[in-house]
Symmetry: C2
Subunit: 230 residues, 2 copies
Protein backbone atom coordinates (compact mmCIF):
# COMPACT_ATOMS: atom_id res chain seq x y z
CA UNK A 1 0.00 0.00 0.00
CA UNK A 2 1.32 3.42 -0.95
CA UNK A 3 1.70 5.98 1.86
CA UNK A 4 -1.32 8.13 0.92
CA UNK A 5 -3.52 5.02 0.66
CA UNK A 6 -2.45 4.05 4.14
CA UNK A 7 -3.28 7.53 5.46
CA UNK A 8 -6.67 7.34 3.72
CA UNK A 9 -7.34 4.03 5.48
CA UNK A 10 -6.31 5.58 8.79
CA UNK A 11 -8.64 8.55 8.29
CA UNK A 12 -11.47 6.09 7.60
CA UNK A 13 -10.64 4.26 10.83
CA UNK A 14 -10.61 7.61 12.64
CA UNK A 15 -14.12 8.39 11.27
CA UNK A 16 -15.37 5.01 12.40
CA UNK A 17 -13.77 5.01 15.83
CA UNK A 18 -15.04 8.50 16.58
CA UNK A 19 -18.50 7.53 15.26
CA UNK A 20 -18.56 10.59 13.02
CA UNK A 21 -21.74 11.01 10.99
CA UNK A 22 -22.60 12.63 7.67
CA UNK A 23 -21.81 16.34 7.79
CA UNK A 24 -19.28 16.15 10.64
CA UNK A 25 -16.20 18.22 9.95
CA UNK A 26 -12.76 16.63 9.79
CA UNK A 27 -9.71 18.30 11.37
CA UNK A 28 -8.06 20.88 9.09
CA UNK A 29 -5.26 19.92 6.71
CA UNK A 30 -2.49 21.14 9.03
CA UNK A 31 -3.86 19.11 11.95
CA UNK A 32 -3.98 15.97 9.78
CA UNK A 33 -0.39 16.62 8.61
CA UNK A 34 0.80 16.87 12.20
CA UNK A 35 -1.28 13.93 13.41
CA UNK A 36 -0.04 11.53 10.73
CA UNK A 37 3.37 13.16 10.44
CA UNK A 38 3.22 13.38 6.63
CA UNK A 39 3.50 16.08 3.99
CA UNK A 40 0.70 18.28 2.73
CA UNK A 41 0.68 16.49 -0.64
CA UNK A 42 0.24 13.09 1.03
CA UNK A 43 -2.73 14.30 3.09
CA UNK A 44 -4.22 15.97 0.00
CA UNK A 45 -3.90 12.79 -2.05
CA UNK A 46 -5.41 10.74 0.77
CA UNK A 47 -8.38 13.12 0.96
CA UNK A 48 -8.84 13.05 -2.81
CA UNK A 49 -8.94 9.27 -2.68
CA UNK A 50 -11.55 9.38 0.09
CA UNK A 51 -13.60 11.90 -1.88
CA UNK A 52 -13.47 9.62 -4.93
CA UNK A 53 -14.70 6.75 -2.75
CA UNK A 54 -17.57 8.90 -1.45
CA UNK A 55 -16.26 8.81 2.13
CA UNK A 56 -15.82 12.60 2.48
CA UNK A 57 -16.80 15.76 0.62
CA UNK A 58 -14.91 19.02 0.40
CA UNK A 59 -16.51 22.44 0.58
CA UNK A 60 -14.29 25.12 -0.86
CA UNK A 61 -13.14 27.53 1.81
CA UNK A 62 -14.99 25.65 4.50
CA UNK A 63 -13.37 22.27 5.10
CA UNK A 64 -13.69 18.54 4.69
CA UNK A 65 -16.78 16.74 5.87
CA UNK A 66 -17.78 13.15 6.49
CA UNK A 67 -20.12 11.17 4.25
CA UNK A 68 -21.65 8.03 5.68
CA UNK A 69 -24.52 5.99 4.42
CA UNK A 70 -26.74 5.38 7.38
CA UNK A 71 -28.81 2.35 6.49
CA UNK A 72 -28.07 -0.92 8.21
CA UNK A 73 -27.67 -3.99 6.06
CA UNK A 74 -27.14 -2.13 2.78
CA UNK A 75 -24.23 -3.33 0.67
CA UNK A 76 -21.94 -1.11 -1.37
CA UNK A 77 -22.87 -1.74 -5.00
CA UNK A 78 -19.44 -0.77 -6.28
CA UNK A 79 -17.17 -2.39 -3.73
CA UNK A 80 -16.23 -6.02 -4.11
CA UNK A 81 -14.31 -6.28 -0.92
CA UNK A 82 -15.31 -9.36 1.00
CA UNK A 83 -18.34 -8.66 3.14
CA UNK A 84 -18.59 -10.22 6.55
CA UNK A 85 -20.38 -13.48 7.20
CA UNK A 86 -20.35 -14.48 3.53
CA UNK A 87 -19.99 -18.15 2.67
CA UNK A 88 -20.09 -19.85 -0.71
CA UNK A 89 -21.29 -23.12 -2.16
CA UNK A 90 -19.35 -23.93 -5.32
CA UNK A 91 -21.61 -25.45 -7.98
CA UNK A 92 -19.11 -25.52 -10.81
CA UNK A 93 -15.44 -24.76 -11.33
CA UNK A 94 -14.19 -25.54 -14.80
CA UNK A 95 -11.70 -24.64 -17.46
CA UNK A 96 -13.77 -24.32 -20.61
CA UNK A 97 -14.61 -22.31 -23.73
CA UNK A 98 -16.44 -19.08 -22.89
CA UNK A 99 -19.79 -17.99 -24.28
CA UNK A 100 -19.46 -15.52 -27.13
CA UNK A 101 -20.47 -12.69 -24.81
CA UNK A 102 -18.01 -13.72 -22.08
CA UNK A 103 -15.18 -14.07 -24.63
CA UNK A 104 -15.85 -10.53 -25.77
CA UNK A 105 -15.96 -9.16 -22.23
CA UNK A 106 -12.74 -10.78 -21.00
CA UNK A 107 -10.99 -10.16 -24.31
CA UNK A 108 -10.16 -13.70 -25.40
CA UNK A 109 -10.87 -15.63 -28.59
CA UNK A 110 -13.99 -17.85 -28.43
CA UNK A 111 -11.84 -20.98 -28.68
CA UNK A 112 -9.50 -19.92 -25.86
CA UNK A 113 -9.97 -21.53 -22.45
CA UNK A 114 -11.19 -19.49 -19.48
CA UNK A 115 -11.91 -20.28 -15.84
CA UNK A 116 -15.62 -20.57 -15.22
CA UNK A 117 -17.01 -20.42 -11.68
CA UNK A 118 -20.60 -20.82 -10.61
CA UNK A 119 -21.48 -20.52 -6.94
CA UNK A 120 -24.22 -19.54 -4.53
CA UNK A 121 -23.26 -17.03 -1.89
CA UNK A 122 -24.84 -16.93 1.54
CA UNK A 123 -24.90 -14.16 4.10
CA UNK A 124 -25.43 -15.36 7.66
CA UNK A 125 -26.47 -18.68 6.17
CA UNK A 126 -29.22 -17.15 4.00
CA UNK A 127 -29.00 -17.36 0.18
CA UNK A 128 -27.86 -13.96 -1.09
CA UNK A 129 -27.03 -14.48 -4.75
CA UNK A 130 -26.15 -16.84 -7.56
CA UNK A 131 -22.90 -15.85 -9.25
CA UNK A 132 -21.44 -16.93 -12.61
CA UNK A 133 -17.97 -15.65 -13.54
CA UNK A 134 -15.52 -16.01 -16.39
CA UNK A 135 -11.84 -15.26 -15.85
CA UNK A 136 -9.18 -14.51 -18.46
CA UNK A 137 -6.59 -17.26 -17.80
CA UNK A 138 -3.65 -15.15 -18.93
CA UNK A 139 -4.31 -12.83 -15.96
CA UNK A 140 -6.08 -15.13 -13.49
CA UNK A 141 -3.62 -17.93 -14.02
CA UNK A 142 -4.82 -20.32 -11.34
CA UNK A 143 -7.96 -21.15 -9.36
CA UNK A 144 -9.00 -24.19 -7.37
CA UNK A 145 -12.05 -25.25 -5.41
CA UNK A 146 -10.69 -24.06 -2.08
CA UNK A 147 -9.89 -20.62 -3.47
CA UNK A 148 -13.29 -20.13 -5.08
CA UNK A 149 -15.01 -21.10 -1.82
CA UNK A 150 -13.60 -17.91 -0.35
CA UNK A 151 -13.17 -14.37 -1.71
CA UNK A 152 -11.84 -14.79 -5.24
CA UNK A 153 -10.94 -11.10 -5.40
CA UNK A 154 -8.86 -11.26 -2.26
CA UNK A 155 -6.91 -14.13 -3.79
CA UNK A 156 -6.53 -12.45 -7.18
CA UNK A 157 -5.09 -9.35 -5.56
CA UNK A 158 -3.08 -10.82 -2.70
CA UNK A 159 -2.27 -14.24 -4.10
CA UNK A 160 -1.71 -13.44 -7.77
CA UNK A 161 -0.70 -9.80 -7.31
CA UNK A 162 -3.16 -8.55 -9.92
CA UNK A 163 -3.72 -4.81 -9.66
CA UNK A 164 -7.47 -4.47 -9.89
CA UNK A 165 -8.61 -1.21 -11.48
CA UNK A 166 -12.00 0.02 -12.63
CA UNK A 167 -15.11 -1.90 -13.55
CA UNK A 168 -18.14 -1.47 -15.78
CA UNK A 169 -21.37 -2.41 -14.04
CA UNK A 170 -24.74 -3.12 -15.68
CA UNK A 171 -27.94 -3.75 -13.79
CA UNK A 172 -31.63 -4.37 -14.23
CA UNK A 173 -34.55 -6.03 -12.46
CA UNK A 174 -36.18 -9.14 -13.87
CA UNK A 175 -37.99 -12.38 -13.12
CA UNK A 176 -36.08 -15.39 -11.81
CA UNK A 177 -35.82 -18.40 -14.08
CA UNK A 178 -36.59 -21.79 -12.59
CA UNK A 179 -32.99 -22.84 -11.97
CA UNK A 180 -31.99 -19.48 -10.45
CA UNK A 181 -35.06 -19.57 -8.20
CA UNK A 182 -34.13 -23.04 -6.96
CA UNK A 183 -30.65 -21.93 -5.90
CA UNK A 184 -32.04 -18.88 -4.10
CA UNK A 185 -34.94 -20.79 -2.48
CA UNK A 186 -37.50 -18.52 -4.14
CA UNK A 187 -40.45 -19.12 -6.44
CA UNK A 188 -40.04 -19.27 -10.18
CA UNK A 189 -40.72 -15.75 -11.55
CA UNK A 190 -39.90 -13.94 -8.29
CA UNK A 191 -38.27 -10.50 -8.76
CA UNK A 192 -34.50 -10.30 -8.90
CA UNK A 193 -31.75 -7.77 -9.30
CA UNK A 194 -29.26 -8.80 -12.01
CA UNK A 195 -25.82 -7.20 -11.82
CA UNK A 196 -23.23 -7.77 -14.54
CA UNK A 197 -19.68 -6.52 -14.06
CA UNK A 198 -16.60 -6.37 -16.23
CA UNK A 199 -13.46 -5.99 -14.13
CA UNK A 200 -10.26 -4.45 -15.46
CA UNK A 201 -6.65 -4.44 -14.37
CA UNK A 202 -5.27 -0.92 -13.76
CA UNK A 203 -3.74 -1.04 -17.26
CA UNK A 204 -7.25 -1.39 -18.74
CA UNK A 205 -7.18 -5.11 -19.60
CA UNK A 206 -10.45 -6.85 -18.70
CA UNK A 207 -9.86 -9.98 -16.62
CA UNK A 208 -13.28 -11.05 -15.34
CA UNK A 209 -16.92 -10.97 -16.32
CA UNK A 210 -19.57 -11.88 -13.78
CA UNK A 211 -23.34 -12.09 -13.70
CA UNK A 212 -24.84 -12.00 -10.24
CA UNK A 213 -28.50 -12.80 -9.59
CA UNK A 214 -29.60 -11.43 -6.23
CA UNK A 215 -32.29 -12.63 -3.83
CA UNK A 216 -34.55 -9.57 -3.87
CA UNK A 217 -35.36 -9.65 -0.16
CA UNK A 218 -31.74 -10.05 0.87
CA UNK A 219 -30.07 -7.44 -1.30
CA UNK A 220 -30.24 -3.72 -0.67
CA UNK A 221 -27.50 -1.56 -2.10
CA UNK A 222 -26.13 1.92 -1.72
CA UNK A 223 -23.89 4.02 -3.93
CA UNK A 224 -22.29 7.24 -2.78
CA UNK A 225 -21.76 9.36 -5.86
CA UNK A 226 -19.53 12.28 -6.50
CA UNK A 227 -20.98 15.30 -8.22
CA UNK A 228 -22.37 13.75 -11.39
CA UNK A 229 -23.33 17.18 -12.59
CA UNK A 230 -20.00 18.93 -12.73
CA UNK B 1 -18.62 26.70 -16.41
CA UNK B 2 -15.04 26.88 -15.18
CA UNK B 3 -12.28 26.56 -17.83
CA UNK B 4 -11.22 23.01 -16.96
CA UNK B 5 -14.85 21.84 -17.02
CA UNK B 6 -15.19 23.32 -20.48
CA UNK B 7 -12.04 21.52 -21.65
CA UNK B 8 -13.37 18.27 -20.14
CA UNK B 9 -16.60 18.73 -22.13
CA UNK B 10 -14.58 19.38 -25.28
CA UNK B 11 -12.50 16.24 -24.75
CA UNK B 12 -15.73 14.27 -24.39
CA UNK B 13 -16.98 15.77 -27.66
CA UNK B 14 -13.66 14.85 -29.27
CA UNK B 15 -14.09 11.22 -28.09
CA UNK B 16 -17.60 11.11 -29.48
CA UNK B 17 -16.85 12.78 -32.80
CA UNK B 18 -13.88 10.53 -33.44
CA UNK B 19 -15.93 7.48 -32.40
CA UNK B 20 -13.20 6.38 -30.01
CA UNK B 21 -13.90 3.15 -28.15
CA UNK B 22 -12.87 1.70 -24.81
CA UNK B 23 -9.10 1.34 -24.68
CA UNK B 24 -8.32 3.91 -27.38
CA UNK B 25 -5.47 6.19 -26.36
CA UNK B 26 -5.96 9.94 -26.08
CA UNK B 27 -3.33 12.39 -27.37
CA UNK B 28 -0.55 13.08 -24.86
CA UNK B 29 -0.79 15.92 -22.35
CA UNK B 30 1.38 18.28 -24.40
CA UNK B 31 -0.75 17.73 -27.51
CA UNK B 32 -3.92 18.47 -25.55
CA UNK B 33 -2.32 21.64 -24.09
CA UNK B 34 -1.45 22.85 -27.59
CA UNK B 35 -4.77 21.81 -29.09
CA UNK B 36 -6.87 23.63 -26.47
CA UNK B 37 -4.31 26.37 -25.88
CA UNK B 38 -4.44 25.98 -22.09
CA UNK B 39 -1.98 25.31 -19.28
CA UNK B 40 -0.84 21.91 -18.09
CA UNK B 41 -2.76 22.28 -14.83
CA UNK B 42 -6.01 22.99 -16.71
CA UNK B 43 -5.62 19.88 -18.87
CA UNK B 44 -4.69 17.82 -15.81
CA UNK B 45 -7.78 19.00 -13.91
CA UNK B 46 -9.98 18.31 -16.94
CA UNK B 47 -8.60 14.76 -17.19
CA UNK B 48 -9.07 14.19 -13.45
CA UNK B 49 -12.70 15.25 -13.81
CA UNK B 50 -13.17 12.85 -16.73
CA UNK B 51 -11.55 10.05 -14.75
CA UNK B 52 -13.89 10.74 -11.82
CA UNK B 53 -16.83 10.52 -14.24
CA UNK B 54 -15.57 7.22 -15.60
CA UNK B 55 -14.98 8.65 -19.09
CA UNK B 56 -11.24 7.92 -19.21
CA UNK B 57 -8.65 5.96 -17.25
CA UNK B 58 -5.00 6.76 -16.73
CA UNK B 59 -2.22 4.21 -16.83
CA UNK B 60 0.91 5.45 -15.12
CA UNK B 61 3.74 5.91 -17.58
CA UNK B 62 1.57 4.84 -20.47
CA UNK B 63 -1.11 7.44 -21.15
CA UNK B 64 -4.78 8.26 -20.94
CA UNK B 65 -7.35 5.89 -22.42
CA UNK B 66 -11.01 6.07 -23.29
CA UNK B 67 -13.76 4.35 -21.33
CA UNK B 68 -17.09 3.90 -23.02
CA UNK B 69 -20.02 1.76 -22.05
CA UNK B 70 -21.03 -0.06 -25.17
CA UNK B 71 -24.61 -1.13 -24.57
CA UNK B 72 -27.38 0.64 -26.40
CA UNK B 73 -30.35 1.83 -24.40
CA UNK B 74 -28.64 1.61 -20.99
CA UNK B 75 -29.07 4.65 -18.74
CA UNK B 76 -26.40 6.06 -16.46
CA UNK B 77 -27.53 5.18 -12.92
CA UNK B 78 -25.67 8.09 -11.37
CA UNK B 79 -26.38 10.87 -13.84
CA UNK B 80 -29.57 12.83 -13.59
CA UNK B 81 -29.05 14.91 -16.64
CA UNK B 82 -32.17 15.01 -18.78
CA UNK B 83 -32.26 12.00 -21.06
CA UNK B 84 -33.58 12.40 -24.57
CA UNK B 85 -37.18 11.68 -25.51
CA UNK B 86 -38.35 11.83 -21.89
CA UNK B 87 -41.80 13.24 -21.18
CA UNK B 88 -43.67 13.47 -17.90
CA UNK B 89 -47.25 13.24 -16.72
CA UNK B 90 -47.64 15.16 -13.46
CA UNK B 91 -49.94 13.34 -11.06
CA UNK B 92 -49.46 15.60 -8.07
CA UNK B 93 -47.67 18.87 -7.26
CA UNK B 94 -48.29 20.11 -3.75
CA UNK B 95 -46.87 22.08 -0.89
CA UNK B 96 -47.41 19.85 2.10
CA UNK B 97 -45.94 18.29 5.26
CA UNK B 98 -43.35 15.61 4.47
CA UNK B 99 -43.42 12.03 5.68
CA UNK B 100 -41.17 11.48 8.68
CA UNK B 101 -38.60 9.77 6.44
CA UNK B 102 -38.66 12.54 3.83
CA UNK B 103 -38.34 15.23 6.54
CA UNK B 104 -35.24 13.47 7.81
CA UNK B 105 -33.72 13.14 4.35
CA UNK B 106 -34.22 16.75 3.24
CA UNK B 107 -33.34 18.05 6.70
CA UNK B 108 -36.56 19.86 7.67
CA UNK B 109 -38.83 19.61 10.71
CA UNK B 110 -41.83 17.29 10.21
CA UNK B 111 -44.21 20.29 10.46
CA UNK B 112 -42.31 22.31 7.85
CA UNK B 113 -43.76 22.54 4.33
CA UNK B 114 -41.97 20.90 1.41
CA UNK B 115 -42.68 20.64 -2.29
CA UNK B 116 -44.02 17.22 -3.20
CA UNK B 117 -44.03 16.03 -6.81
CA UNK B 118 -45.42 12.78 -8.14
CA UNK B 119 -45.13 12.03 -11.83
CA UNK B 120 -44.86 9.25 -14.36
CA UNK B 121 -42.00 9.55 -16.81
CA UNK B 122 -42.16 8.18 -20.33
CA UNK B 123 -39.37 7.42 -22.76
CA UNK B 124 -40.42 7.45 -26.41
CA UNK B 125 -43.98 7.38 -25.14
CA UNK B 126 -43.48 4.20 -23.09
CA UNK B 127 -43.89 4.29 -19.28
CA UNK B 128 -40.40 4.29 -17.77
CA UNK B 129 -40.90 5.05 -14.09
CA UNK B 130 -43.06 6.45 -11.34
CA UNK B 131 -41.27 9.16 -9.37
CA UNK B 132 -42.10 10.72 -6.01
CA UNK B 133 -39.92 13.59 -4.77
CA UNK B 134 -39.72 15.89 -1.78
CA UNK B 135 -37.87 19.19 -2.04
CA UNK B 136 -36.55 21.37 0.78
CA UNK B 137 -38.35 24.70 0.17
CA UNK B 138 -35.55 26.82 1.58
CA UNK B 139 -33.33 25.63 -1.29
CA UNK B 140 -35.86 24.75 -3.99
CA UNK B 141 -37.87 27.92 -3.44
CA UNK B 142 -40.30 27.64 -6.31
CA UNK B 143 -41.88 24.98 -8.54
CA UNK B 144 -44.96 25.01 -10.74
CA UNK B 145 -46.75 22.52 -12.95
CA UNK B 146 -44.98 23.63 -16.12
CA UNK B 147 -41.55 23.29 -14.49
CA UNK B 148 -42.22 19.80 -13.11
CA UNK B 149 -43.44 18.63 -16.52
CA UNK B 150 -39.87 19.10 -17.75
CA UNK B 151 -36.46 18.37 -16.18
CA UNK B 152 -36.71 19.59 -12.57
CA UNK B 153 -32.93 19.32 -12.19
CA UNK B 154 -32.25 21.51 -15.19
CA UNK B 155 -34.51 24.16 -13.66
CA UNK B 156 -33.04 23.84 -10.17
CA UNK B 157 -29.55 24.36 -11.55
CA UNK B 158 -30.14 26.87 -14.33
CA UNK B 159 -33.27 28.61 -13.05
CA UNK B 160 -32.59 28.70 -9.32
CA UNK B 161 -28.79 28.60 -9.51
CA UNK B 162 -28.52 25.73 -7.02
CA UNK B 163 -25.08 24.10 -7.13
CA UNK B 164 -25.89 20.41 -7.14
CA UNK B 165 -23.23 18.26 -5.46
CA UNK B 166 -23.13 14.61 -4.49
CA UNK B 167 -25.97 12.18 -3.87
CA UNK B 168 -26.62 9.06 -1.84
CA UNK B 169 -28.36 6.36 -3.84
CA UNK B 170 -30.14 3.27 -2.48
CA UNK B 171 -31.56 0.51 -4.59
CA UNK B 172 -33.27 -2.83 -4.44
CA UNK B 173 -35.59 -5.05 -6.49
CA UNK B 174 -39.14 -5.73 -5.36
CA UNK B 175 -42.71 -6.45 -6.39
CA UNK B 176 -44.91 -3.65 -7.72
CA UNK B 177 -47.87 -2.60 -5.59
CA UNK B 178 -51.24 -2.27 -7.29
CA UNK B 179 -51.11 1.52 -7.73
CA UNK B 180 -47.52 1.52 -9.00
CA UNK B 181 -48.35 -1.25 -11.46
CA UNK B 182 -51.30 0.73 -12.80
CA UNK B 183 -49.14 3.78 -13.56
CA UNK B 184 -46.52 1.62 -15.30
CA UNK B 185 -49.10 -0.49 -17.21
CA UNK B 186 -47.81 -3.68 -15.61
CA UNK B 187 -49.39 -6.43 -13.56
CA UNK B 188 -49.70 -6.20 -9.81
CA UNK B 189 -46.63 -7.96 -8.33
CA UNK B 190 -44.42 -7.56 -11.41
CA UNK B 191 -40.71 -7.05 -10.65
CA UNK B 192 -39.40 -3.53 -10.25
CA UNK B 193 -36.21 -1.69 -9.53
CA UNK B 194 -36.63 0.85 -6.72
CA UNK B 195 -34.07 3.66 -6.59
CA UNK B 196 -34.04 6.16 -3.74
CA UNK B 197 -31.76 9.19 -3.91
CA UNK B 198 -30.85 11.98 -1.54
CA UNK B 199 -29.41 14.96 -3.40
CA UNK B 200 -27.08 17.47 -1.79
CA UNK B 201 -25.92 20.97 -2.61
CA UNK B 202 -22.13 21.25 -2.96
CA UNK B 203 -22.01 22.56 0.63
CA UNK B 204 -23.48 19.27 1.85
CA UNK B 205 -27.07 20.39 2.53
CA UNK B 206 -29.64 17.86 1.32
CA UNK B 207 -32.30 19.46 -0.88
CA UNK B 208 -34.24 16.60 -2.43
CA UNK B 209 -35.33 13.04 -1.69
CA UNK B 210 -36.81 10.93 -4.45
CA UNK B 211 -38.13 7.40 -4.80
CA UNK B 212 -38.25 6.11 -8.35
CA UNK B 213 -40.06 2.91 -9.28
CA UNK B 214 -38.85 1.60 -12.63
CA UNK B 215 -40.62 -0.48 -15.26
CA UNK B 216 -38.37 -3.55 -15.23
CA UNK B 217 -38.45 -4.11 -18.98
CA UNK B 218 -37.68 -0.48 -19.80
CA UNK B 219 -34.85 0.20 -17.38
CA UNK B 220 -31.31 -1.04 -17.84
CA UNK B 221 -28.53 0.86 -16.12
CA UNK B 222 -24.79 1.13 -16.23
CA UNK B 223 -22.27 2.53 -13.78
CA UNK B 224 -18.64 3.15 -14.65
CA UNK B 225 -16.68 2.89 -11.44
CA UNK B 226 -13.28 4.09 -10.51
CA UNK B 227 -10.95 1.69 -8.74
CA UNK B 228 -13.07 0.65 -5.78
CA UNK B 229 -10.16 -1.36 -4.45
CA UNK B 230 -7.53 1.28 -4.04
Amino acid sequence: MIKYQQIAAEIETYIEENALVQGDKLPVLEALMTHFNVSKSTVTKALELLEKKGAVFQVRGSGIFVRRQKRKGYMDLLSHQGSENITSKVIELEVKKPTKEAAHHVNVEPDEDVYYVKRVRYRNGQALCLEESYFNKSIVTYLNKEIVSESIFDYIQKGLGVKVGFSDVYLHAGKLKREEAKHLCLENGAPSLYVESIFHVTNGQPFAFSTVTYHFEQSHFFVQTNSPFS
